[in-house]
Amino acid sequence: MSAKMISLDGNEAAAHIAHLTNEVIAIYPITPASPMGEYADTWTAEGRKNLWGSVPQVIELQSEGGAAGTIHGALQSGALSTTFTASQGLLLMLPNMYKIAGELTPTVFHIAARSLACQGLSIFCDHSDVMSARATGFAMLASNSVQEVMDTALIAQAATLASRIPVLHFFDGFRTSHEVAKIEQVSDEVVRAMIDDELVSAHRRRAMNPERPVLRGTSQNPDVYFQARESVNPLYEAMPAIVQACMDRFAELTGRQYHLYDYFGAEDAERVIVLMGSGVDTSREVVEHLTAHGEKVGVLAVRLYRPLDPTALLAALPATTRSIAVLDRTKEPGADGEPLYKDLIAAVAQDAATGQGRFGQMPRIIGGRYGLSSKEFTPGMVKAVFDELGKDQPKHGFTIGINDDLTHSSLDWDAGFRPDCTQQTVNALFYGLGADGTVSANKNSIKIIGEATELHAQGYFVYDSKKSGAVTVSHLRFGPQPIRSAYLIGPDEAQFVACHQGSFIERYDMLDNACDGATFLLNSTAGPEQAWETLPRAMQQQIIDKKLKFYVIDAYQVAEQSGMGRRINTIMQTCFFAISGILPKEQAIAAIKDAAQKTYGAKGEKLVQMNFLAIDNSLANLHQVSVPERASSDFERPALVPSQAPAFVQEVTARIIAGQGDLLAVSQLPNDGTWPTATSQWEKRNISLEIPVWDEELCIHCGKCPLVCPHGVIRSKVFDPALTKDAPPTFKHVPVKGKEFPEGWHISYQVAPEDCTGCTLCVDICPVKDKKNPGRRAINMAAQPPLREAEKLNWDFFLSLPEYDRSRIRPTVIKEAMIAQPLFEFSGACTGCGETPYLKLASQLFGDRMMIANATGCSSIYGGNLPTTPWATDPNGRGPTWNNSLFEDNAEFGLGMRVAVDKQAELARELLEALRPELGDGLVNDLLDADQSDEAGIYEQRQRVTTLQEKLPGIDRPEAKQLSEITDMLTHKSVWIVGGDGWAYDIGFGGLDHVLASGRNVNILVLDTEVYSNTGGQTSKATPRGAVAKFSAGGKPTPKKDLAMIAMSYENVYVAQVAYGAKDIQTLKTFIEAESFDGPSIIIAYSPCIAWGNDMKYNHEMQNMAIRSGHWSLFRYDPRRRLQGENPLQLDSKAPSQGYRDFVQNETRFSMLWSKHPEDAEHFLHESQFEARARFHHYEQLAAIHFDKPEDDQDTPEEQ
């Protein structure tokens, strides 16, 4: 059969086979496995059929635990079923996996292997997740490349049906799951030939069926459980041969021969590395290089890890082997070796014990760790391991890839070492902005080159930790042979370097990676004559020293001319093809045009023509810059972190910001995951071309702009004008309006010029219009570069002014509440984020006493993704203390905090009583009876605690020492449980429900974006009917869950729905009421999200339309009102006044369904409109019920 070559990533390769060979697919999003579910869902929505001509059913669950349960049920009922997951998701599946394996049920789970959350979460690759599953009874098959993913997925499917043993098929997250490679597609005919329908029938015959009832899932006792457990042994013993038979059959069909354990290298090798995953390919490159240079080395790829076949494994190793390094991509703290190492030790030892062992002499075996959390594993590292094996006393328990200066486990390596085969590839690096389309253009280039030539291609994409202004670096390789370099393009390796954003030249050392004579392409507004002068001196020197060819294009101008707006990817792609020389220019341009036709043809001819025009204009505007002989620039790249930053920030954080985190030594990092807060202030990103400028003459000091600013870059402060005598000349301040402030005091609204992301929401919300200049408001956008230096000084001066006395602020008045310092600032959230204003507001109101449990999701990423955190501190050093446990357990995690605080407060109060004689009644009573319901009360209590702390050391009693450790607990602590709708509505709902029922004083903030935002916009139970989201490619057919109504059913929970962009004062009141309620409170906060497909500059209008259409209602349910004889429910929004159609047609997530399934869209619209009206009416009725004040309990005698 002739093979078709295609370019795709590992996730698509796995999903392709899974969708083709299954009937039921249960999914749940988790990085980096989510795309497998997305592909499956999209294909099912498009009607793609499986091998048996039927469209598989794809169903999303509330958690991976749910997905595994569903798969278990589906398998037990006879359907071919599968799922995809990674990391914590796999851990949640473990209980079911034991069951599925225990019942000998054939299935394949496809796993994009990822680190587990320990001292910190990581979305990147290692094998700690799959290693946790090795006791489940699942067979485990490893794939080492994109080609192998597609091949092994099929081999696994065939083997599981034949053996009845379920298979965990895993490959490296990101490195393989997200690498785009040109591979041979496994044809449907091959799949057909590999899957034996008789085995499928056997699976069906074993299914539960009332026509032939059976009993499974029994409870077994000491008498039989053990024997039954051993009854499966023959099947596990047979499994390796079955897998090998499937591999052999596959080889007959495709020519690609795999073995359970594949050895590559010298037949007489003495030093061998054993490992699994993408590291195998890198090791092969090095082995080929070293053997070509006469060294006796080899590498053994373990494919079938469970059930392990020691005989086959040892047979694959050359008998000449003298020393073996087993590399595990996982860590088991406290173990004397990682799992694969121990398996190998056992195999060799058992073999040797027979007396007729494979090796004449027992080889020396060492184990080491590599690649945790996608740490690079480069040829230099492989060579270092071989070098170590050549030593007399090689180190066991080593690490490779890091500098372990603490326990000295690490091996040194030569970062510049590259095997000979890499000489054959053309390497290209592209620095782009996350949103500028660089990655998709590069994926497209790989397809073009893959299809137009015989060349092989590989693309790997490195992303930023930020969501706004994120940087992507694309690593592309092209070459005549299949590319096995599973590592990044390194120093002096790239023949082509493109910088798609001019501002990056200030931030990155991108030419370090350019080789001599390479081509450097820069998108710059400076023309070919001026571009040279815009480069930092060091960069100029590199261009001269490396004799680089330097090209510039003003891509934004070309985009504008071509009607493409600010979309530059086609333009930069055209330039790449024009000057990289990978394809003849004419052929390349024709191929790009052909690709544009294919990509945009279905979306309209106009788009196609626009792209054609852009391609032609690009060529006309691409210029080579003549490089002078000497560097002439008088500036260098500025320091990334200012010198006044704390030492830790200078030494650690700054290096992570600079992209040099890999160089940090073990001893420099906290060992328990504890990091300082208030660090985002040191990471100046300058990502916006425009910033807001305050018009102090027009401003009415309403406080709305600081309230809505998603990144906390607009601040207001009230101060004594006497303090401004040394203010910078352009610092603006005017007398504050309002009698509540000290007479003559001034106010300033100041913008942090280097932190603004340019969302324009402050301008949008400004209620003041300049009557003389229509269009102008009291805050207006202006170009950042000319303002930057002056505003930096103004910002620093603003920060140096003292904070206004919090106890004098009326928190229910917006302009006053907004004077309070935000303790949430400069997050990495998306531009225009709809979530962050709520967190910032909470931090302004309660930040100095907040304890935050944050569910995994967007808020945990922009809140806690290194290098910096937006959670900040006040001048007293107080501020929110924050932690992220997991995704699913956040409510319980926060409850634990509450219980702990309450318990310690109780103990403190008991100790106070015990120490009453020494402390005196006055202080003790004041401390015990303190009213801490407002700022003044909290301030006074803190003063009392200070007094107490001063007195305690003078008291010679053990209780005094005990109390001195927990005096802080005598001041109010505000516990916040924060998360998104994926957590609250789905995976964490059970815990949330329990916490609501607990009656404990916690504040739950649900940032409701109506999708799983962080993982890329998958459907949650908060997703409205008719919305298109991933996992609902055909529009979500069921309505949004009414979480508020569920919470209200407890009657003793404070419940509210808010939308700050529609009614800010209601949001403010809600936060204050919720926090003051001595019991559970839940605020469900409407949070427009980039995942909805709209431009976030319309964030506020989207909130308004949601309310006007009845999609979202504002209300507060306060149980305290019942005691006053009032209805606890207050409806704060009016009856829907606008058609639901207007709402849905204004939001892409709904409107896109009209372009594909108009009738479904219409149907969903009608149902949603009806439900929205009915829901509002229901709330209206509930809010209208008359409540009587409860009568005093007759049984309780009144006080006399």
Binding site: A45, G432, Y463, D464, N1014, A1091, W1154
Partner: protein, 336 residues
């Protein structure tokens, strides 16, 4: 019972034609409308602005979709973007044509040459029996005179008339200073009919969010009177089909329009409120009225109370205003 009506050269079995509304989006609903007696159907409007914004939107989505974060390189399943609003509209015309017996009138809402001429041609080619141009433009620019505004429409219509061979009708707003004159010009430029009147979304102010927002209030029966007056005035003075639209909720409303001179009466709000079945109720009402009336056919009744036929044409003009006001007795309690 002869309810036959003639509109834009098409012979219709009765005068009830559902006007441009979401009801025609769904094939089943369109079939129901036919079953309940609709004699033709005007499709929902294809908005020129919608096509422009769709294009902008696609451009933006294609770029903004890519996000550059490791957990979410993009959002929204992009496959769903395939197909444009225009393509869908054209496809919908074809589907309606193949599943309905009654004529299908496409509705085009636009104000530019691109919007009218290019798209109008495509709608005709897709099989529409006639084309309704929806003139929906608030003359907010004080520098543009009424004459200029009118000239712009006339020019566009003339262009379109040259490239399409199906009849064109124009749905007008009441805000023309000399409506009769404008209608005559439309006739000269090639229009085969006019439809009176368009209803605008009215802006409203949200006092909480301090924003201006559009509101939609469905029409009421009272709204028919403005259109009725102008139908009455135009009937017999122009050689155009006349359609009444806006506020026709009952059989009585429809009959009034026909008596004033309408060839057909559009219905919309009442169907949105009560469903397609209501059409049958109105149709039955018209039949009963015709039974009880002195006329044998609707054609006989059509326009008998038009301006030209009236013994007292002042009823359609300013004089009636004076009479009405002098006869109006306010509720005194409301003045206290």
């Amino acid at each position: 019972m002869d309810l036959r009506s003639h509109y834009l050269g098409l012979e219709l079995k009765n005068p009830l034609v559902p006007s441009a509304s979401p009801l025609s989006r769904d094939l089943d609903t369109a079939r129901q409308l036919e079953d309940y007696g609709a004699s033709a159907i005007v499709m929902y409007s294809l908005f020129e602005e919608a096509l422009h914004s769709e294009h902008e939107h696609q451009m933006r989505l294609l770029s903004q979709q890519e996000h550059g974060h490791s957990e979410a390189s993009n959002y929204l399943p992009l496959g769903s973007l395939e197909g444009s609003e225009l393509d869908n509209y054209l496809e919908h015309i074809r589907r309606l044509k193949s599943s309905l017996e009654i004529p299908v009138i496409a509705s085009l809402n636009g104000i530019s040459l691109d919007g009218w001429v290019d798209n109008g041609k495509l709608l005709a080619e897709a099989g529409a029996d006639a084309l309704e141009l929806n003139v929906y433009n608030v003359a907010a620019d004080p520098m543009v005179s009424g004459a200029e505004m009118e000239a712009q429409y006339i020019a566009l219509l003339r262009e379109l008339h040259q490239v399409v061979d199906i009849p064109i009708t124009v749905k007008l707003s009441p805000y023309f200073s000399s409506l009769g004159h404008f209608v005559k010009q439309l006739e000269a430029a090639g229009a085969k009919g006019v439809s009176l009147f368009n209803r605008f979304y009215q802006p409203d102010i949200d006092v909480d969010s301090l924003r201006v927002s559009p509101t939609l209030h469905l029409s009421r029966s009272d709204d028919v009177l403005l259109g009725m007056r102008w139908l009455g005035i135009l009937h017999g003075r122009v050689d155009l089909s006349l359609a009444a639209t806006g506020g026709i909720h009952t059989d009585e409303d429809a009959v009034k329009m026909i008596l004033a001179g309408a060839d057909i009466t559009h219905v919309c709000s009442v169907l949105l409120r009560h469903g397609p079945r209501h059409l049958r109720r109105i149709l039955n009402g018209i039949s009963h009225w015709l039974d009880d009336s002195p006329y044998e056919s609707l054609d006989q009744a059509r326009g008998v109370l038009s301006h030209r036929q009236m013994d007292n044409p002042a009823a359609y003009e300013r004089a009636s205003y004076v009479e009405l006001l002098s006869g109006y007795s306010p509720n005194r309690s409301s003045w206290r």
